[in-house]
């Protein structure tokens, strides 16, 4: 990994400032670093005031921790974005078609393109969704596709987040902060807006309402509550959309609909954007111990009188073993070659793959099939001997629980440090909205940056930060 040349999105391979960054760079060179540092502190203060905080699991002492914000924007040209968004749209269409298929005829299994065990042994496969067609045939109303870049024209999909992609509030707040602090940048750079996201989200959700809804469907955001790590985002989105934020206790099944308690009595909900896991959604149908859900919500859903976004059982498309079949999935449902590349993936359940992974562990990244947030992951090149030995044991004990990928030379974007600009690795999560009216991709998304020099882990739970992401009008 150390020998691979790293592509920097601002400076290329050291051959001069890349075009999308030219205007920004001119501005930056004219700025006083001391003042910028003051602005950086101001930005942090703004975030604290807005209240964007992030709870990190297992760290009681840091219940409210700020995700660091870096003021150097990540800039993508309009042409680059156009190419990316075509690929994202293709992928998201395929994911929805795949979900419909595996909960109906399972044609992809019958055609031999995916082994039956990938579905039958998958914990994320939800039998209660078999035969259910959600209103508008949409399963993943909101998707986050995690992308990484390794060169000027090389992008890879790292993960598909079809369950509950979080972080969109950071995308919005990062832009808001940049607009407040550096308004002049937005008159010299033509940056495509992201601020329409909440309106687009509301429109998209309303367009997925069931037939039983009236002309103006009622949408609500459902949260597990204030102790959830993303509670801020839940309340932020409800507020921005101008809809109610509800918890399980505010909801009940009444008159054949899901209803929420309001100051004027109970009111029917047509579309619930739930930020609560399937398992906790309904104690009558799923985990009976759940005090966070609404008993009977699944019954209302299955009777066709409610839209749940995202649909229960969509988690199967987040599965990293399923991920390895995404090129086949895209081809099978769209009849086209995938426009976005998948990272080559070894499925450790296959004996030959496992043997290769064990032999080359020092060069590979190993991930848990159902893991997320950068937990339970091994990065071979930077791992200690002890970690390598531990993963060797884990891999041998439960091979099907792991996949492995080559360590990619992730692109860098500079961050602003005391010593000036310094490159750090980044990834990108664009947010995609799906409805029967079409697919809407907000230009940009959330750029996560590994603040530690050389680190490849960008997850906020592991000390990553974020940047404003610009897509330019070309």
């Amino acid at each position: 990994m150390g020998d691979t040349p790293i592509f920097d999105e601002m400076n290329g391979m050291g051959d001069g400032i890349r075009r999308p960054y030219e205007t920004f760079n001119n501005w930056f060179e004219g700025e006083n670093p001391k003042e910028l540092r003051a602005k950086q502190r101001e930005a942090e203060e703004l975030f604290r005031l807005t209240g964007i905080t992030f709870n990190v699991y297992g760290r009681a002492e840091a219940e409210e921790r700020l995700i660091p914000f870096d003021l150097i924007p990540r800039i993508i040209s309009g042409r680059e974005w156009q190419r990316l968004s075509k690929g994202i749209e293709q992928r998201v269409r395929a994911i929805n078609a795949f979900l419909h298929d595996i909960y109906h005829g399972q044609e992809i299994v019958k055609a031999g393109r995916i082994p039956e065990e990938m579905i039958s042994r998958n914990e994320a496969f939800e039998p209660k969704m078999i035969g259910v067609t959600p209103p508008g045939r949409i399963y993943t109303h909101i998707v986050g596709i995690d992308l990484v870049r390794t060169g000027p024209d090389e992008f890879y999909v790292l993960e598909d987040n079809g369950r509950t992609p979080s972080g969109v509030s950071y995308m919005l707040e990062n832009r808001e902060t940049m607009l407040q602090m550096f308004p002049e940048l937005f008159s010299t750079n033509r940056v495509q807006p992201v601020q329409t996201y909440p309106t687009d989200l509301l429109k998209s959700l309303a367009a997925c309402a069931p037939a039983s809804a009236g002309d103006r469907p009622t949408v609500a955001v459902m949260t597990p509550g204030i102790f959830n790590s993303a509670y801020f985002e839940h309340s932020f989105l409800a507020d921005q959309m101008g809809v109610e934020l509800v918890e399980g206790n505010d909801l009940r099944v009444m008159d054949g609909k899901l209803c929420m308690r309001t100051t004027q009595g109970y009111k029917a909900i047509d579309v619930v954007y739930r930020r609560i896991d399937d398992d906790f959604l309904d104690p009558l149908n799923f985990n009976p111990e759940s005090g966070l859900g609404v008993p009977g919500i699944m019954d209302v859903y299955r009777s066709g009188r409610l839209t749940i976004a995202n649909a229960p059982g969509t988690g199967i498309c987040d599965d990293k073993a399923i991920y390895s079949y995404m090129p086949e999935i895209v081809e099978f449902y769209t009849g086209e070659k995938p426009l976005l590349e998948n990272v080559p993936t070894w499925r450790c359940a296959e004996p030959e793959a496992l043997a290769y992974v064990l032999d080359n562990l020092e060069e590979l990244v190993v991930k848990e099939v159902h893991g997320s947030g950068g937990y339970g992951m091994l990065i071979g090149p930077t791992a200690t001997k002890k970690d390598l030995a531990l993963f060797r044991r884990k891999l041998k004990a439960r091979p099907s629980n792991y996949i492995a990928q080559p360590t990619l030379a992730l692109s860098t974007v500079p961050i602003f440090t005391k010593a000036g600009l310094s490159p750090r690795h980044v990834d990108l999560r664009p947010y995609v909205l799906c409805s029967p009216q079409g697919i809407n991709i907000t230009p940009g998304g959330l750029t996560r940056v590994a603040l530690k020099k050389g680190s490849l882990v960008v997850n906020s739970s592991q000390g990553g930060g974020t940047k404003d992401t610009w897509v330019l009008e070309d």
């Binding site: 909960y103 109906h104 005829g105 399972q106 299994v109 039956e116 579905i119 039958s120 039998p127 209660k128 969704m129 078999i130 035969g131 259910v132 009940r252 099944v253 009444m254 008159d255 054949g256 104690p283 009558l284 149908n285 009976p288 008993p295 009977g296 019954d299 209302v300 299955r302 009777s303 066709g304 009188r305």
Partner: protein, 273 residues
């Protein structure tokens, strides 16, 4: 054969129920050799919310308790026309992939007792083995009303050596799945020849065997279901096919009374003769 069924489940609560709901799987559907000509459900102390078809093709009704109700009654009444099919349901249809019915659940996990029982029956072909299992199960799990707990697993019932039809069905399913066959739980009605008042609903199993497809097996009565069996709901085990799955808050202790009548309709009897 035409059967007239009347089924009333009545709950009395020692205190008012502040809120509660029940998911009911009490509506038989028409299918091969079973035609539901009439079916009506009436509720006391509860309101009907929604109906839908679940993944197994069962009709599900969700009802919610009326506020502060102290008595809840669900009354079902209808007529079903049945013809003899020797327990054969036939080819697997519906959206559920067949492999799902090979999934082992908590209640149908095969332990040492199940494995031993399976080994003890003569291995012919799959069909022969299923037939041989029925008397073996009836012998190993002696029928005794009220002798088992509704959350018992097949292994537990076998270890105890006693149980009810639910346990027999679970043991049958556990053995079939252990043998690599798809199997499912069936809840329904059985007309007993000697009486019209039944103590409870009945339960049996269906196993998917080569060439025939789904075939019913009733280990409790050591026979394949005939035209006296009305199939109401199916599932991986009792939990998915149970006539009532509910939860409530308040109400304190409940007293349950069940009245089931399954009677042969004489009119149709004379017609068929």
């Amino acid at each position: 054969m035409r059967l007239k069924i009347s089924h009333t489940t009545r709950y009395s609560f020692d205190a008012p129920v502040s809120s509660g709901m029940q998911q009911l799987r009490l509506r038989p559907r028409s299918r091969r050799a079973q035609e539901v000509t009439e079916w009506k459900m009436t509720l006391e102390g509860a309101v009907h919310e929604v109906s839908y078809e679940d993944q197994h093709g069962n009709c599900v009704d969700l009802i919610t308790f009326e506020r502060d109700c102290t008595e809840l009654a669900v009354h079902c009444e209808g007529e079903v026309e049945l013809s003899e099919s020797n327990g054969v349901i036939g080819r697997h249809t519906g959206p559920v992939p067949l492999w799902l019915y090979k999934r082992v659940t908590e209640r149908t996990k095969a332990g040492p007792a199940i494995k031993a029982l399976l080994k003890s029956v003569d291995a012919g072909n799959e069909l022969g083995r299923c037939h041989a299992l029925m008397p073996a199960i009836a012998k190993s799990v002696v029928y005794e009303t009220g002798s088992s707990e509704s959350d018992w697993s097949a292994e537990e019932a076998l270890a105890a050596g006693r149980g009810v039809c639910q346990d027999h069905a679970h043991v049958m399913i556990a053995c079939a799945r252990e043998a690599g066959l798809a199997a499912r739980y069936v809840s329904g009605y059985l007309m007993m020849d000697d009486r019209t008042q039944q103590q409870a609903m009945h339960a049996w199993a269906e196993v998917h065997v080569p060439d025939l497809g789904w075939v019913g097996f009733d280990p409790a009565n050591e026979m394949c279901p005939d035209e006296r069996y009305v199939r109401v709901a199916v599932g991986l085990d009792y939990a998915e096919a149970a006539p009532v799955n509910g939860l409530r808050s308040g109400g304190d202790t409940e007293t349950l009374s069940v009245a089931i009548e399954v009677a042969r309709q004489s009119q149709s009897q004379s017609q068929s003769q």
